[in-house]
């Protein structure tokens, strides 16, 4: 186990520590512990997993202290084995053509790659969804092909178009909504990935696997024009 221990986080919080590194193995354990805590059915207000931490928020310190005992008591290796339930495998259409790929040429120039090479390197890997954060429904996916690893833009964009696919450091993402941000934009998906109408709310959930599939601008516009609801997207693009 990577788990190092539980500490207080202010007067109403807890933080579970899984070390200072980041990897898919660590994240799998984080997300397994996250699922286990959810099943404990404690009165927490929020559980926030990230690369190597889980933060919990409570209403009062009594709830917090009881939860700490319950987690310490239940967190054993055996309890973490069958917690990868309900994980989805996504095959997400993505258009990498110029009008949607604001920084693709910058990536090509940085790494001496052709357009086709960037696309094939981004679409050949199936990414692990580490966690959702930064803004509603924003997935941290990774890890990308080492030859695509690029720092954030020196000057963040004031407005990134909704549904844009970005890369920064060893991660890739999709912006659910128009937002400021510093990720390098290399494409766009043809539907919303955050919905207040569906109980899932966020299309991608921690522990999901996401692979992108390159489509033409014509196909992109066709799918976009259907305004697919979450149920249709799930049916057509996930397993």
């Amino acid at each position: 186990m990577f788990f190092k221990g539980i500490n207080h986080y202010g007067d109403l919080g807890l933080i579970l520590d899984f070390g200072s590194d980041s990897s898919q193995q660590i994240s799998q354990e984080v997300n397994a512990v996250y699922a286990l805590i959810q099943d404990l059915d404690m009165p927490q207000l929020n559980i926030i997993p990230s690369f190597n931490k889980i933060v919990l928020a409570f209403q009062n310190s009594k709830d917090r202290n009881q939860a700490q005992d319950a987690i310490e008591h239940n967190l054993t290796k055996a309890n973490l084995t069958n917690s990868q339930k309900d994980r989805k495998l996504w095959n997400i259409p993505a258009c990498y053509e110029d009008s949607y790929a604001l920084d693709r040429e910058l990536i090509q120039a940085t790494h001496g790659l052709s357009k086709e090479e960037v696309i094939s390197k981004h679409t050949c890997t199936s990414y692990y969804a580490y966690y959702i954060g930064f803004m509603p429904g924003f997935p941290y996916l990774g890890d990308i092909d080492p030859s695509l690893i690029t720092p954030r833009l020196a000057t963040p964009r004031i407005q990134i178009p909704a549904r844009s696919i970005g890369i920064a450091k060893e991660h890739t993402c999709v912006y659910p909504k128009v937002s400021p941000g510093g990720w390098n934009i290399i494409g766009q998906v043809p539907f919303d990935i955050f919905s207040l109408e569906h109980s899932r709310t966020s299309l991608f959930l921690p522990g999901d696997t996401v692979q992108f599939q390159s489509i033409s601008e014509k196909e992109f516009l066709q799918i976009q024009s259907k305004h697919l609801a979450f149920d249709e997207i799930i049916k057509e693009f996930s397993k």
Binding site: N7, H8, Y9, G10, D11, L12, G13, I15, S20, S22, Y34, L45, N46, I47, I48, P49, S50, F51, N52, K53, I54, V55, A57, Y131, I132, G133, F134, M135, P136, G137, F138, Y140, K177, L196, T201, S202, L205, P206
Partner: protein
């Protein structure tokens, strides 16, 4: 049916409740009331508030009853006037119930030596929750009304109020507490003993670049000898994070859900309401 309309927005007029919980793992901020003490006091005057409060910052709104009658109470350090239909003007005290009838217009002036004020409505504002909460997060555009309110916004309050008797409650004392005891942050070890000494011995000024997301402070820079860039991790209201310029930011209710700056300390949860009311320019100090 009782109906009123916003006739002046004041500044940053939003619908808030006690917060939107159970969604932060999907990137959704808790949001909610900045100074919880005030709606708690208003709840004693307006018991059927339905957890639907209006919050304003610095300058209060005006609202006019278009049809029927409503019962409200205003909390905060502000002057409150009602322009009656017959052109007389009546001043009201905070934390008292105010009966407003067709044609009456309620106007709340600026918050004195403080930042936030609130209005509670008997029977609420007739809103549907969004992700189990009425709170507004304007940055993420999530809420029963997913933006600040605008002139012309109308609210329908369907039921009759239980009693038109006038009630009042003790005022919330928005004391000028400026020294805050804080808990160690998870990255306190990113700062040397010398820097921690600066953190607890020198004052920090609340700057004008402060809002529902965070209070940006200015003071002696707090430089980490390790890094100002950590792997993003979950954050909660009250976290004091320090970006590379060394100027701390106290995260408030509309937090981004994870953050990549080291957290030197964390405020006591009850102090978040208190510090929210300190206007820009106020000097504060910390105790570890």
């Amino acid at each position: 049916m009782n109906r009123f309309q916003i006739t002046r927005t004041g500044t940053y007029l939003t619908v808030q409740d006690w917060g939107r919980f159970h969604y932060q793992h999907l990137g959704v901020s808790p949001s909610g009331i900045m100074d919880q003490r005030i709606p708690e006091a208003l709840a004693k005057v307006i018991p059927h508030h339905q957890n639907q409060f209006l919050e304003f910052a610095y300058v209060g709104p005006s609202l006019k009853v278009e049809q029927g009658a409503i019962k409200v109470s205003v909390g905060g350090q502000c002057n409150i006037f009602v322009q009656k239909n017959n052109n007389t003007q009546i001043e009201h005290a905070p934390y008292t119930s105010i009966n407003l009838f067709e044609g009456d217009e309620l106007t709340i002036h600026n918050t004195i030596d403080s930042v936030y004020g609130y209005i509670a409505f008997e029977n609420g504002l007739g809103l549907e929750p969004c992700l189990q909460s009425f709170a507004t997060d304007t940055k993420a555009q999530i809420g029963s009304i997913n933006r600040p309110l605008q002139i012309g916004d109308q609210f329908e309050v369907s039921k009759d109020v239980s009693s038109w008797d006038l009630q009042s409650n003790e005022e919330v004392n928005i004391s000028k507490q400026t020294n805050f005891k804080v808990y160690p942050g998870p990255q306190m070890n990113y700062f040397s003993d010398e820097v921690l000494q600066t953190f607890v011995s020198s004052p920090f000024t609340i700057t004008t670049q402060s809002d529902r997301m965070g209070l940006r402070l200015e003071g002696e820079p707090l430089k980490s000898h390790i890094s100002h860039d950590i792997l993003s991790e979950g954050i909660l209201p009250g976290c004091i994070q320090v970006p590379s310029n060394g100027q701390p930011i106290i995260l408030m209710r509309d937090i981004p859900c994870t953050g990549g700056y080291p957290k030197i300390a964390i405020m006591a949860s009850e102090d978040i309401s208190k510090i929210a009311q300190l206007p820009p320019g106020t000097k504060i100090t910390f105790d570890l």
